[in-house]
């Protein structure tokens, strides 16, 4: 039987990043990393009946039963890849690297006939193509070095030149160039320093003053003394009204397909929520020539050796003009996940949004209680209701951190889709989620 094997690690950029590059200041946060590691559960939205979803941590059985109840009749991994005492050893590896090392993988996959199975990866990262080869999976992916090159922020910058788009950003190499160009930009206003492989707002730093710039240079000097290379993209801060994105699929034949457009509600530079784009705004994108620019980007990506999923981040500025190309992500994306949720909706009167809430999670939290509470208040999306709150992941709420004091809180993130018929309906559903989260002992971090 033909089926697909879905798998992937989010924040793929951290696996593409060149370790020789200097970085902007960062604070290591193990709790947010644990959340990111569990985001692969969201990939169930791409699954069809009979597909296999392999996740880094075993999905909570309550969530598995729930997604099956709403029509995702899929298989998942039910045993950990390694015993918990080897957790630290696995910490820096992505899910493909972990599965390539684990004996559990052979045992699990031997019960499936993989001859005609296609690998559906979130992104091509180290270990992806080895995994496909080892288990003789059909994979339609270019080589990793091509994927990596295209994901660099400097590639997006060059693409703007190739499209003859006004280009206000620069690639800076070395301390002196950074200082000179950044100082010049600061005369006009705030500027944004972007890591070549930054993701979810973690690789961007907003600089308002010369003093802040000099502090940053000091941070860079320290790294340069250790042999790191200073290479960043810098841009003046754009006067953003809102973000949106365009999803493309580039077929191996070179055909470029427009898949979807999603309107984004970002928190700073990180993902916050995505919403169905209005028909009138879509019409505006077509009329303005934006969609032709996206198709042209797809053709140029193919010319450079890439095919597969693409998410292009775009922006509407305060003056109403379109900034078509902010950055290119050649992988699946949160917006594509939102598009996946849309495929559940058959009633054209319904809309959907994908939302994330950061939460303080008590040690005693039980996911089952949250689902029961949502269901009790008629908020939970079910096949029968056809609308409501659709929880997309449990692992991002249930911390795999063990041995916590019972009064200690960890940070969790609740990803859910809201399927609604009107703005008022959506507001009521979100208010209901807030109450259910509180009833379950979870406090919203705003």
């Amino acid at each position: 039987m033909n089926f697909a094997l879905h798998c992937g690690s989010f924040e793929a950029e951290r696996f593409w990043r060149d370790s020789r590059l200097a970085s902007i200041p960062t604070i290591q946060n193990t709790q947010t990393k644990k959340i990111t590691d569990s985001m692969d559960e969201l990939l169930f939205v791409f699954c069809e009946t009979g597909d296999l979803l392999l996740t880094r941590h075993v999905m909570d059985s309550v969530q598995y039963d729930y997604i099956r109840s709403i029509g995702y009749d899929i298989h998942i991994n039910r045993n950990p890849w390694f015993s918990s005492d080897r957790e630290n050893e696995m910490d820096h590896l992505n899910v493909f690297e972990i599965m390539n090392l684990s004996d559990v993988t052979d045992q699990l996959l031997s019960s499936f006939s993989l001859e005609k199975t296609t690998l559906e990866a979130f992104a091509v990262i180290p270990g992806t193509l080895d995994f496909a080869q080892r288990y003789h999976l059909t994979s339609h992916y270019p080589e990793q070095d091509i994927v990596q090159r295209i994901n660099a922020k400097s590639y997006s910058l060059k693409m703007r030149d190739r499209l003859n788009l006004p280009n206000v950003g620069s690639v800076v190499e070395g301390r002196e160039q950074l200082l000179a160009i950044a100082n010049e930009m600061l005369c006009e206003g705030a500027m944004l320093l972007k890591d070549e492989f930054g993701v979810s707002g973690k690789g961007n730093l907003l600089i308002h003053s010369e003093k802040a710039l000099l502090r940053l240079i000091k941070h860079m000097d320290k790294q340069a003394a250790q042999g790191k290379l200073i290479r960043f993209v810098i841009e003046p801060l754009l006067d953003r009204k809102f973000d949106f994105s365009c999803q493309l699929y580039i077929h191996e034949s070179g055909d470029v397909q427009l898949v979807s457009f999603q309107q984004l509600d970002n928190h700073g530079y990180a993902f916050g929520a995505s919403h169905t784009m209005s028909e009138s705004f879509k019409a505006h994108l077509y009329a303005s020539g934006y969609t032709n620019q996206m198709l042209e980007i797809g053709r140029l990506l193919y010319q450079d050796g890439y095919f597969g999923d693409v998410c292009i981040d775009s922006m509407i500025l305060q003056d109403g003009s379109i900034e078509p190309l902010v950055e290119i992500n050649d992988r699946k994306s949160m917006s594509l996940i939102k598009h996946g949720v849309d495929s559940l909706i058959t009633n054209p009167q319904l809309h959907s949004s994908l939302v994330q809430f950061n939460l303080a999670v008590p040690a005693r939290f039980q996911y089952e209680h949250l689902l029961q509470n949502l269901n009790h208040h008629q908020l939970l999306y079910t096949k029968e209701r056809g609308m409501g709150i659709l929880p997309l992941s449990s692992g991002t709420l249930i911390s795999p951190l063990k041995n916590l004091e019972l009064n200690e809180r960890t940070m969790g993130r609740f990803y859910f889709a809201v399927i609604y018929e009107s703005q008022q309906h959506m507001q009521n559903l979100v208010a209901g989620v807030n109450q259910s989260l509180l009833d379950s002992g979870l406090n919203l971090i705003t």
Partner: protein, 81 residues
């Protein structure tokens, strides 16, 4: 110092109401809702205000468990300069 730290948190979060909501036992991530980018900008702003320099590579999130703990951290940093 506690008041100044809370004022800076409110400034970074662009939420003046935090000045009244937060106190010395507030957690900077759970109660003030600072994400990784907020924390970097917050520390850079604290450096300016208290004339200290934080080593980002060795900064522990434990210092952010309460405003009180963070102010103690600043005092220790200032004393070691």
């Amino acid at each position: 110092m506690i008041t100044k730290i809370i004022e800076i948190i409110a400034e970074i979060k662009e939420d003046p109401s935090l000045v009244n909501k937060l106190n010395e036992s507030s957690d900077l991530t759970h109660d003030a809702g600072m994400d990784s980018l907020n924390i970097i900008n917050f520390i850079l702003r604290i450096e300016e205000e208290f004339d200290i320099e934080v080593d980002f590579d060795h900064f522990s999130l434990e210092h952010l468990q309460s405003v009180q703990k963070f102010s103690q951290f600043i005092r220790e940093m200032a004393a070691s300069v």
